[in-house]
Amino acid sequence: MIANKISNFFHQTNLNLFLNSWHWLYAGLGIGLTALALAWFMGKRLGVTGGFVDACSLATGSVSSSWRIWFLIGLPLGGLVATIGQWNWTLTYGTLDAFTYGDPWIKGIWLFLSGIMIGFGARWAGGCTSGNSIMGVALGSKMSILATLGFLAAGAIVANILFKAVL
């Protein structure tokens, strides 16, 4: 298998950089420098939710070209290369499999409904993690700081209830 050969290559050459996840400092530096370069060299503010809006506008024909859509296309490519050597299609989704008793229908509906909350909430809050928590907070926007505290508070409550009530 070609996939196995690629996997063996990365293991033999001991390129742990490509096989393991990174310490938060290096990963944070990478994300920060990407966002900074985008602002410095392209004059753009990092944000993903806006890309979803533009993609939606593209579907209705009111926008025909947007840098954000191209940016979104790059994201899965990054995920693909980051997992090179151990890449495979997977139906698993961490502890969510336990939350949904391994039922793919419950899992799909669960993720779809959460997605609606994410999309609607991110637009209402004026941005998601990248636009509000990273760029907004870095630029000292009061609204972004409040939104980030809101993300954290709601997320902490929901995650703790999930693990206590469902598991």
Partner: protein, 174 residues
């Protein structure tokens, strides 16, 4: 040699082509050149790559963050904020907000406490789905097929908000 080079890079035919493209479709407000398309894909690529390496695309990693069991993602987000803040502070100090000379495309959000409701909704969704709009697309590249359900949900949520508050967006009529 110099003359040959000049002839080769003569901008005349290109300009003519651009004019034709513009007159063809009036919808295009800011059509991107092929090279900037490539650069933006590259930025997305790096963002996705680092998100994946940060473990931000892992369901249990998000849960560990929200349950205060793992410092990893707080460290990642905190470092990213510091890098961006320090970098932009430096260039603003020297009165050059961006190195390309263009102004940074940024209008701070008005402080409206009702937006906190949206933030709470987003935070709850983030914890339930274990992903946010950026990481869920990266998950798709990692081969996590179930991410398509979250992506579909986000699209519906974004569309619904647009129907409810059409004026909130700056440039779209979705």
């Amino acid at each position: 040699m110099a003359i040959a080079r000049k002839v080769k890079t003569s901008p005349k035919p290109r300009k003519a082509a651009k004019v034709i493209v513009k007159s063809k479709s009036k919808k295009v407000s800011a059509s991107l050149s092929l090279s900037s398309v490539f650069v933006f894909i590259l930025f997305g690529f790096f963002f996705g790559f680092f998100l994946s390496k940060a473990r931000a695309t892992d369901y249990d990693s998000i849960q560990d963050m929200f349950r205060f069991k793992d410092f990893q993602l707080y460290g990642v987000i905190g470092t990213a904020i510091l890098v961006v803040a320090a970098g932009l502070f430096l260039t603003h100090r020297f009165k050059k907000p961006t190195l390309s000379g263009k102004a940074l495309d940024w209008q701070p959000l008005k402080f409206e406490p009702t937006r906190l409701i949206g933030a709470l909704l987003f935070g709850a969704g983030w914890a339930l789905a274990g992903s946010c709009p950026g990481t869920v697309l990266t998950q798709l590249g990692e081969g996590k097929i179930f991410a398509v359900f979250t992506i579909a949900g986000i699209a519906v949520g974004v569309w619904a908000f647009q129907k409810w508050q059409p004026k909130d967006s700056n440039n779209s009529t979705c």
